[in-house]
Assembly symmetry: C2
Homo-oligomer: 102 residues x 2
DNA sequence: TCAATATTTAGACGATTATCTAACTATCTA
DNA sequence: TAGATAGTTAGATAATCGTCTAAATATTGA
């Protein structure tokens, strides 16, 4: 979770996620959406990948990136719990309801 | 939104939010939950406050901090949209569904 | 008004991060 | 197999971040 939160802290990475929410894209296509050197985008992609937020799959010369929504579900659960919208038994009681997240 | 995402990138700050999700607390009470110098916690609190994630209210010598759930709602909306769970008319179409967030 | 308590502000320092250019690896095609 | 294309890795650098100690501000109560 920590890696995911840190990955989301950068606006370029969030923009990449928004692009991938619309359709899968190759590294080059993603890079073309930014006025930034390709290696910088590549680095952002590897950060997102390490955080579990995206998947990659090689297709010939291209590497196709796609969203991995699994971690997004966990993040949303975290927000629901913070916002006091958790379901009755998902958060029993006590101070350490977060232990597993960090 | 950018400030909120950056504020969430630090584990200490997320822990503070989790504490405040349970009850309002003074700066001192919050600091007592961590093995970190008080000024460091104070700095984290001001970051969270600048991000709109918490509110503060002076009560005599103490300053009472509380969660501000407004920004949390916006963040959750962002996640819903990314995860493709948005409601039909909240996100019309096109590439720039995110324009207002950054 | 003075001392004590609660908290923040200021300034410094080491660690992390975002970006760049240059060089490398992998794949395709002629 | 050589050249072109797609993408990553390496290494450097400037900026940002998290933490600390010391000093300042605000409030209370004697």
């Amino acid at each position: 979770m920590n890696g995911a939160f840190k990955a989301l802290a950068d606006p370029t990475r969030r923009k990449i996620l928004q692009l991938l929410a619309q359709r899968d894209m190759t590294a080059g296509e993603i890079a073309d959406c930014f006025s930034m050197a390709k290696p910088s985008i590549s680095h952002h992609l590897s950060t997102l990948r390490a955080a579990g937020l995206i998947d990659d799959e090689r297709h010939g010369q291209n590497i196709l990136y796609s969203l991995n929504t699994t971690v997004f579900q966990q993040l949303m659960q975290w927000f629901f719990e913070i916002s006091g919208m958790e379901s009755k038994d998902s958060v029993p009681e006590g101070v350490n309801r977060d232990e597993k997240n960090e």
